[in-house]
């Protein structure tokens, strides 16, 4: 059986680069709770496509610059 692919992200680094933006500030900008941002950063929760686009837009990046899929062989 094929393993579930893992989606990693660079949100933590992007926040750091964006003048150390807090998780709460990012959450406020995309309309979710801080806990959801924590869960996404830790790859414990995969956001919907809509939220993924919103997060990428906050940092002025393409969605593929923020989220990457890792396929386990």
């Amino acid at each position: 059986m094929a393993k579930k692919p893992k989606i990693t992200n660079t949100i933590r680094r992007l926040r750091f680069d964006a003048d150390e933006m807090t998780q709460k500030a990012l959450a406020d900008q995309v309309g979710v709770t801080r806990q959801t941002i924590v869960a996404i950063e830790n790859a414990k929760y995969y956001p919907t496509l809509e939220l993924a686009f919103l997060i990428a837009r906050v940092f002025g990046k393409e969605i593929s610059d923020v989220f990457t899929i890792e396929m386990d062989e």
């Binding site: 979710v32 709770t33 959801t36 830790n42």
Partner: protein, 153 residues
């Protein structure tokens, strides 16, 4: 803790209280012999009707008090209370998983009711089982939600 997670904790406390109350009420009905008479279903239904009404009203009051208490504790610990009552996509996903558990209990209760009647148990006994499945399903649904909140951070 997000607003919905706090709400889940409150719902668990309310769920435990309601389950204990239902057990006490039903035990009282059996002890008094009310569940064996010809009016057993009417007496049980009247009791459960008021249990449900008080559970809803009590739940709302508890939710208000709980929100205030959480805000006070949060302010004391972190210096500021989260005043945004946001329900986001993750909350909805977690709520769905809790609802599935509640639905499973409810479905089991309904099948148990039909099977119980088929195998000769009194309708009122079967209704008691159905009621327990409802209230336990609600409680377990909230417990699953809390577990998912804790595991996904």
């Amino acid at each position: 803790m997000s607003h919905e997670e706090k709400n889940t904790v409150l719902q668990i406390i309310i769920g435990i209280a309601v389950n204990i109350w239902v057990i006490i009420k039903v035990r009282g009905l059996y002890a008094s012999g009310d569940m064996e008479g010809p009016d057993a279903i009417q007496i049980w239904a009247e009791t459960m009707f008021w249990v449900i009404i008080f559970a809803i009203v009590g739940g709302i009051i508890m939710a208000i008090i709980g929100t205030i208490v959480f805000a006070i504790v949060e302010t004391a610990v972190t210096g500021e209370a989260d005043q945004k009552f946001i329900t986001d996509e993750r909350d909805k996903m977690i709520a769905n998983s809790g609802n599935k558990i509640t639905m499973a209990f409810t479905g089991f209760g309904f099948i148990a009711l039909i099977a119980g009647i088929k195998f000769g148990y009194t309708p009122v006994d079967c209704l008691v089982v159905l009621m327990f499945c409802f209230s336990l399903g609600g409680l377990f649904g909230e417990l699953v939600k809390l577990a998912r909140y804790r595991m996904s951070i």
